[in-house]
Amino acid sequence: MDWFLTHAWIIPALPALGFVLILLFGKRFLGPTRAHWIGVPLIAVAFVLSICTGVAWIQHTNDPHGGPLADVQEECSRTVQATGSEEPAEHADEGPTEGHAAARGRSVAQEDHGTEATTTQEGGEEHAEAEKHHDTQPVVRCVSWFDTGDHSFTIGTLVDGQAVMLLFVVTLISLLVHLYSTDYVNGDRRYTHYYAFLSLFTSSMLFFVLAENTLQMMVGWELVGVCSFALIGHWWEEKPNSDAALKAFITNRVGDVGLIVGVIVLFFGAGQSFSIIDINIGANEGLMNHTVLLVASCCLITAVMSKSGQFVLHTWLPDAMAGPTPVSALIHAATMVVAGIYMVGRLYPVFFEGLAIGGSSINLLALVGGVTAVFGALLAFVQKDIKKVLAYSTVSQLGFMVTALGVGAWTAAMFHLFTHAMFKACLFLGAGSLSHASHHSFNMVDDMGGLRRVMPRTYWTYLIGTLALAGIIPFAGFWSKDEILAGTGSANEGVGNYHFALVMLLIGAFCTAAYMTRTIWYAFYNGEYKGHGHPHESGPVITWPLIVLAALTCVIWLVNIPTKFFFDWRPPESFTLKFEHYVEPVGPFFPGSSDNFTHAEFNGWIAALSLLVAGGGLLAGYLFYWKRALKPLENLAEKSRLAAFFKNILVNKYYFDWLYTDVIVHAVKKPIAAAAYWFNQKVLDGVVDGAGKTAVASGRFVYDKIDQGVIDGVVNGTAVVATESGGELRRTQTGRVQQYAALFFAAAAILAGIFVLVIG
């Protein structure tokens, strides 16, 4: 079974192959409507392989062998190289970085022996658990990519619980989206391109998930961005679509600046290594400077903010709805936006140490996440477009995950990512089904209504998704959200005491329940159907993925049953916390063994509170829409100026779009660029042209005055003198022989006279 772990690279390679094949042969050999013949089977194989990898991983965890880094190929990690080589002293003279690595290696070795010492401090219950965890080994395989400087950079795969979990999620959702699209996108003008990019999108995300080093991660990260660009702008003939695509890509580029800088800082911080293992060990064992970690984590948070649609850089995400709906499902559930969460999870020690998450009560990550959870949810209330409601709910839910990471509840974040993928995909595909029925409109207020009767399957699956999203027991969302709330540590022993985060998340949860009720009301109730034509239930290709996802939403929580329930009821231990056990990496590359890191347990009070809040949200929605019992709140904006003020802010999305598009982008595009260009043309080029003109002018001066005046004057003067004197002298030349003779004689006489005088 280990074969699957060491050959995980095949999984991203399959859809990549699909991309190439579809692009080269799709249209030519299969015709314009059959590109899925290539795409679907390949992704299906990838899905099967992912499951096999998952099974292999479970076996691998159950039957560990070797030390904590035994399955890391030596070339991939400097730490392993340092510990693996028999004479580490040999490298010591190669400068501080090597010594660094060697020191790190020693501490890893100590870690191995010190396991018992640390575990005895923890509860006896967890003893066996911790023991097992410590032996969980990531499987790292790599090949040399290129050499620059003294370093060989590698490319490879890092398979561990987190990667396996996401492999499963990505391939599952992608497979369902592929299938769903065969009907939904059928007859599209660019069906082939659509499938090609769907494959590449999946492939990039899988590549990112399996990345063994941060450089590789960055490659995957950007490729995901480019595919989203292509898919969001799928119908690029219309300007709003290409605008949305541009916005998505450029906003992500802004975050990428953070990614680039963060990755570079970590590269040098970890002694010139991109390896995730090295970075994490360096951060976790205090071998990296705290400032370095802080700077790196702040930079990386920028990247997370853009990719995972966190507050201030979230604006692209709702606009990204311009793409085909299945793509939105893929973006929001499995690929793209979860990349940020995954990245933080991957480099968790960096954040844990850099932001001092343990024992603290607020940090940047928790703050960003908490604010996003509430502000994103509030925006969902004023949307008419059902997809935008879901988009803002994604923003808000991603805020939950980021908060979870910020408060130290790693497993809760990953679990929420896992469950959220299921029900969010279900909801998006459900929204697609609705629009399929109502003539491609997403306007739930004006074009839908009363659809529960004609679209029962869509209705029920959508309802399950909604309940899960709202966090109603026993659907998946409840369990993962509850873990996050417990993880804030406000009510029990968590990592820290994040009261602010708890409050924000509870508000977010209330809003979520309320706005989701609103969508149910508008789409499925609200009197009669208001759109064009006759709505009908979508075909089986569309509804089956919905049913599968809804079913998963109902049962998926079973993978992470808490150790104790309400009233201290404990389920059999062999069923509990399987997700935590298999997914959470524990070892020198994860803060799990740190004293500050504890797992929050299920807390009856928190769970009850969360249920109460979610139920309150549902109830409020029910009373408001169904019963019309909250009359004073209806049309509040018209009654109260204060409410109108706030509504206006929400409708304008807190004016962020205005700030970014109209102020910043416009300023850069027009005045600043124009000023730079003016500077270029007038000043710089002016200098050059001026130099040219001055040269020409001074040349003319020199020519006119000096050359023509002085130097040529001398030459001409000589000629003039010669001419003039010639003219004068010619007068003597009369042609009269006698005159000549007279002169001759006179001269002879004078000469004779002189002769006589001188000689004589």
Binding site: S144, W145, F146, D147, T148, G149, D150, L215, M218, V219, W221, E222, L223, V226, F229, G233, W236, E237, E238, K239, S242, D243, L246, F249, I250, R253, V254, D256, V257, I260, V261, I264, V265, F267, F268, V665, V668, K669, I672, A673, A674, A676, Y677, N680, L684, D685, V687, V688, G692
Partner: protein, 508 residues
């Protein structure tokens, strides 16, 4: 045969195009087809020899000069005819040998107004001699001669076959570059006299350059800085570039962008840093600052453009900024990135200029306002444009990334003795430059390729998709962009030993 290659290979690739040009002189002007074939044949033959050299090159000793030729030349001034390639020159030589045949293929049915393929093609071949010669010359005077040989054909190319303002552009190009050359030759001579080296050979000079005083070194490097800097071009010496590019015929722009600009950066690496490592240290912060300004400034300039070709030209300023930033770090990472960046920029921007030329052929204008919907009318061409835009903005997985990212990376930790604060600031600003790059390139893509065609071109039958000649000329470039993007090791492994030999002197 191998002996011949090792003894004379470099001279062959350098002078074969010149021989071709001489042969063409004997063929009457009216035989246009023969001219095209002869020109293409010679350049392909040179390319074949280049490929052969690529195979015969000893990659385990890439830091050493190989295929060396060392003959006496101008004994009076101790200048010798020395040629050789190492890991740094090899990719550039091969790039040149590749680009020229592609340009000639493209020229098979794209001779710009006012025609006269004979003269046009002869100029290209002379250019090739000059460019290859510059990359293989290992003697300063020889280098200088080849460096100058390049100027004149380019001048005529812009001045005769250029756009409406060709006179202005060509004169500006010629004089500006010549001005730089003048300072450069002064520096070369000063270097020779002050070091008291035995000859103008670069190796000789490098060995004895330690003896000159730091002030003299600073000034000499300054002369080279301006000379090479104009050619690169770095801010603020770049203003000739947009004019030259905009006015030059397509093939001229391609050669200019793909190869000519690299003469400057190559000069910095080989002569500037190679011979004067200590003054390079003094200049590095200045270079880093102007490079960083260039990155942001070039990008802003791009955003202000209304003409597609001029926009691409301005993007060169930004891209060469990354290359110069890499060089300024004086580290092996940085210089490796710079050499990679040179080749990547050659491929990508060359390709973009090809596209601009072909679009101009179809639309007879490159004014962005009037374009649009290329993907509708010529989908393949639109795709290629999108691909090149992505490559140009430094998307990982395509060649552009490996010139940019490692350069930014290197700036985090420059060579010993350079200010980390300054370089890290530059690093962050350069990283911000990538956002702007995405901005202007995608905006260009949106305005030209997306949307629907404007009314005036809606039913224009001129707008056809990529023709077979174009495919032949472009495919090698596209494939290389992709391959180098996925396997950067192909190039890094070649350049690395040679770069390390240089950076070991600078303390990088």
């Amino acid at each position: 045969m191998n002996d011949f290659l090792h003894d004379w290979g470099l001279a062959v690739i350098t002078f074969l195009p010149l021989v071709g040009a001489l042969v063409m002189l004997l063929i009457p002007k009216t035989e246009e087809q023969t001219h095209k074939l002869v020109a293409l044949g010679t350049s392909l033959a040179a390319f074949a020899v280049g490929i052969w050299i690529l195979f015969e090159f000893n990659y385990d000793a890439a830091e050493r000069m190989q295929f060396t030729i060392d003959r006496s030349w101008i004994e009076l001034i101790n200048s010798r005819f020395i040629m050789g390639v190492d890991g740094i020159s090899l990719p550039l030589v091969v790039l040149t040998l590749l680009i020229v045949p592609l340009c000639l293929i493209y020229s098979l049915n794209h001779i710009p107004e006012p025609g006269n393929p004979k003269a046009f093609l002869i100029l290209i071949l002379i250019l090739e001699t000059g460019m290859v010669g510059s990359f293989v010359a290992q003697d300063l005077i020889l280098f200088f001669v080849f460096f100058e040989v390049v100027l004149l054909p380019m001048y005529f190319m812009i001045g005769v076959w250029g756009g409406e303002q060709r006179q202005y552009a060509s004169i500006k190009f010629f004089l500006y570059t010549l001005f730089g050359s003048a300072l450069m030759i002064v520096s070369f001579l000063a270097l020779y006299w002050l070091t008291g080296a035995d000859s103008f050979g670069m190796a000789d000079l490098a060995a004895s350059s330690g003896g000159i005083s730091s002030t003299a070194g600073f000034l000499i490097f300054g002369g080279m800085f301006i000379g090479f800097g104009i050619k690169v071009p770095i801010f603020p010496f770049h203003t000739w570039l947009p004019d030259a590019h905009t006015q030059a015929p397509t093939v001229g722009s391609v050669i200019l962008a793909a190869v000519l600009l690299k003469l400057g950066t190559y000069g910095f690496v080989r002569i500037g840093i190679g011979i004067l490592p200590d003054p390079a240290h003094d200049w590095a912060p200045i270079i880093a600052i102007v490079a960083t300004i260039g990155i942001i400034y070039g990008a802003l300039g791009c955003l202000a453009q209304t003409d597609m070709k001029r926009l691409i030209a301005f993007s060169s300023v930004a891209h060469m900024g990354f290359v110069m930033l890499g060089i300024a770090t004086l580290t092996d990472y940085g210089i490796n990135a710079a050499v990679f960046g040179m080749v990547a920029h050659g491929l990508i921007t060359g390709m973009l200029f090809f596209l601009a030329g072909s679009m101009k052929d179809r639309y007879h204008t490159l004014e962005i306002k009037r374009l649009g919907g290329l993907l509708v009318q010529a989908p393949r061409m639109g795709w290629i444009l999108g691909f090149c835009a992505m490559a140009s903005l430094g998307l990982p997985g395509l060649a552009g990334f490996w010139g940019e990212f490692p350069a930014i990376l290197a700036a985090y930790q420059p060579a010993e003795g350079l200010s980390e604060t300054l370089f890290r600031t530059c690093m962050v600003i350069a990283a911000l430059g990538t956002v702007l790059a995405a901005g202007y390139l995608l905006w260009l893509l949106q305005r030209t390729a997306f949307g629907t065609p404007k009314e005036e071109f809606e039913n224009n039958s001129h707008v056809s998709d990529v023709s077979p000649t174009e495919w032949t000329a472009w495919l090698p470039l596209l494939v290389l962009i992709l391959i180098l993007g996925f396997l950067p090791g192909l190039m890094f492994d070649v350049t690395n030993p040679a770069v390390q030999a240089i950076s070991s002197v600078t303390g990088g």
